[in-house]
């Protein structure tokens, strides 16, 4: 907990790596917030929810703060390897200087790049996605839910993020978290390794969709609506936006909320 470090940062909710360094300490884990989590109003809520959980679970964590920069993922997927390499170089310099060992992130795109693509460039860290991290904390008993947890028995459809699922074979952790809340998990027609993309990957988030007869997020929203679940769970800020918009386009926003796994956990935590 920040309080154990130094009195002058005791009252700060979120400590940065620079502050830890100044106090001569190293946090257990670096929370990589990501651009969406830092700037996007909707995703900021996910960031705050996850930070709250970390604090309640007693995890000593830090962020890079202003020293964090885009991992380069959208540039690389668009084909701009130069820009990717520039960003990777900067980020790795910063993280290696702080002697970072373990990273947790709420963004599957950042997760994939940090875990799979930075090692070849000299950035070797133990990288974990927040859904896996949450599942571990629940298993270790570091996260406990209130007896009257509001999610109990609620039906929920989990949307697999491509960069978590197919890209990195993480299918079970987010589902286990929802099950530990006694939620009723409903699967969409296409799920797990067959899960349908929300339409944001490969830098599509940053451009208009190509000409077609349907938007990808509408197609995916229809599948979610088909489950008749009362809400949708996401594990990626981009999926969250796409699913929310998709459902809104079908005028179903009153019936189906799209919440990140971290937000769901944060609301039920003791």
């Amino acid at each position: 907990m920040p309080g154990q470090i130094k009195p002058n940062i005791y009252y700060m909710k979120v400590a940065t790596m620079a502050e830890f360094l100044a106090a001569g300490k190293e946090p257990e884990v670096l929370f990589w917030v990501g651009c969406a989590g830092s700037f996007d109003q909707r995703a900021q809520k996910i960031t705050k929810a996850f930070a709250t959980i970390l604090e309640k679970a007693g995890i000593e964590y830090a962020i890079l703060g202003k020293e964090e920069a885009c991992t380069g993922d959208p540039a690389r997927r668009a084909g701009n390897e130069f820009m990717f390499q520039m960003m990777a170089y900067q980020n790795i310099q910063v993280m290696n200087a702080y002697n970072i060992k373990k990273i947790v992130t709420t963004c599957p795109h950042c997760f994939n790049v940090l875990k799979n693509e930075y090692p070849a460039l000299g950035g070797n860290y133990d990288v974990i996605h927040h859904t896996t991290f949450l599942q571990e904390l629940i298993e270790q008993g570091k996260i406990q839910f209130t007896d009257s947890n509001e999610w109990k028995g609620k039906s929920i459809a989990y949307h697999d993020s491509c960069y978590l699922g197919r890209a990195n074979d993480i299918y079970e952790a987010p589902r286990k978290v929802l099950e530990s809340l006694d939620m009723e998990l409903r699967e969409m027609k296409r799920c797990k390794s067959k899960g349908l993309c929300c339409g944001a990957g490969g830098a599509q988030m940053f451009k208009e969709e190509e000409k077609g007869d349907k938007r990808i997020n509408t197609e995916r929203a229809d599948e979610a609506i088909e489950t008749k679940a009362s809400m949708v769970a996401s594990a990626c800020p981009f999926c969250n936006t796409m699913m929310t918009d998709g459902i809104k386009n079908r005028n179903e926003e009153i019936k189906m909320d799209v919440l990140d796994i971290a937000e769901i956990v944060a609301q039920a935590i003791k």
């Binding site: 940065t16 705050k48 920069a69 799979n116 197919r166 993309c197 490969g202």
Partner: protein, 424 residues
């Protein structure tokens, strides 16, 4: 003059295998036009992939009904071809069922099992023909297959029916045998005398073996080549997590030397090309992928862009890559070296609109039963578009400059990156 038939048979056999070998060699040469890629190490893991994906047909089993039908054809094809050894020995020596006396009771057992397999192949192939031509299965009626690819698929099915039919006819017309399936066909030949039966058997025998040789030589021109290339393709398939993109070391070094000039070796030349514009710029595995493609369309059926009506079809990416590679290979064969023909895979075969529609979701890679990665090719072409041609939609250019100036894909001040910590 009894030996004339044997000599003719010997020559045809030799000629068929020679032609087949020659065409396979040409394909190998075309594949090796691709850039070298390192696949050393992990031998055990790679053989495991061959066992699971190629021999075990693991990916096919996501649709068990189709998988079992395909398994009939695949197992039938491989096992019935054991019979080919006897047929060739018979053909070269003029004997009739040379293995029968050697194998004794086993022989009948063997041929019986071949016949059962032949029956299963016939059954499966007829269902495939109906599925392909009369049921409106989206991936099979897709416009990707218009023209030759659709005929190719049907030719394969028809040849299989004919070959299995001839195999059973040959056995049925042989009065010295009584095998499990062909025995039921014997009544068809009731009115024929011994000589006529011998002629029918002989004709069926010749047509069967000639058909097999013809089919063998058809493979290099067909999607059916996957029965050979599925195996090496599974061996060389990526063992990395699917999300990991191939690193461009040349660019990595460029950036490193720009940031730390003291590390730059003297006289380091800048890479001559970024990404892939044509087939020679792809890796040889990408090119083997193109030859391995069986045009089944599972990739496109799972592609979020394709199923929402975008122009992109991962299957057609593979088919166009093969078409272009064949074209380049032919030209090299003709002129004995490559002369630019003013065309390229990018633009002339694969359009910018197709490439722009990809979400890099890996659904195509996940689906492919023969370990192809259409995504790899899409990414390499995208790299060429951006880094060679600066060809990007304006929104992407905006995103690039935001990353460059604000360290985020949106236009926010980097000073606000941790602003969320001050919010309630």
């Amino acid at each position: 003059m009894a030996w004339i038939a044997e000599i003719i048979f010997g020559l045809i056999t030799l000629g068929s295998f020679f032609l087949f070998g020659k065409n396979l060699w040409a394909i190998r040469k075309n594949i090796l036009l691709g850039k070298p890629t390192d696949f050393s190490g992990n031998t055990a893991e790679r053989w495991k992939q061959v066992a699971l994906l190629a021999f075990g047909q693991k990916k096919m089993f996501s649709n068990p009904l189709v998988a079992i039908l395909h398994l009939f054809v695949y197992v039938g094809f491989i096992i019935i071809n054991i019979e080919l050894v006897e047929i060739i020995v018979d053909g070269l020596t003029g004997k009739h069922r040379a293995f029968a006396p050697l194998l004794g009771d086993c022989y009948a057992w063997l041929i019986n099992s071949f016949e059962i397999l032949a029956g299963l192949v016939l059954f499966a192939v007829i269902i495939f023909f109906i599925r392909r031509n009369f049921l409106a299965i989206k991936r099979l009626i897709s416009k990707d297959l218009n023209g030759w690819p659709r005929s190719d698929a049907n030719i394969i099915l028809i040849i299989e029916v004919v070959l299995m039919g001839l195999f059973l006819t040959m056995n049925a017309a042989d009065p010295s045998t009584h095998f499990i399936l062909s025995a039921h066909l014997k009544p068809l030949f009731n009115g024929f005398n011994e000589n006529q039966l011998a002629t029918i058997e002989h004709t069926a025998w010749w047509l069967h073996i000639l058909g097999i040789y013809a089919f063998m030589n058809y493979l290099p021109y067909s999607k059916h080549l996957h029965i050979i290339l599925a195996f090496p393709n599974a061996y060389y398939a990526s063992l990395e997590p699917k999300g990991k993109m191939h690193n461009m070391e040349s660019v990595q070094n460029e950036v490193l030397y720009a940031m730390q000039p003291e590390l730059a070796p003297a006289g380091a030349a800048a890479p001559d090309k970024f990404g892939a514009k044509d087939v020679m710029d792809l890796s040889w595995k990408n090119l083997m992928d193109a030859y391995s493609c069986t045009e089944c369309g599972r990739c496109s059926a799972a592609c979020p862009a394709n199923l929402t009506g975008k122009l992109l079809s991962p299957r057609s990416i593979m088919m166009k890559t093969r078409d272009r590679l064949e074209e380049v290979g032919m030209q090299i064969q003709k002129d004995s070296n490559w002369k630019a023909d003013g065309k390229s895979l990018l633009h002339d075969y694969i359009s910018v609109e197709e490439l722009r529609a990809c979400t890099t979701c890996n659904a195509c890679v996940e689906e492919c039963p023969v370990s192809i990665s259409p995504l790899d090719i899409i990414i390499e072409l995208r790299r060429s578009l951006i880094m060679e041609e600066s060809n990007a939609p304006s929104e992407w250019n905006g995103m690039f400059s935001n990353i460059e100036n604000n360290f985020a894909p949106w236009k926010f001040s980097p000073d606000d990156r941790d602003a969320w910590t001050n919010q309630a």
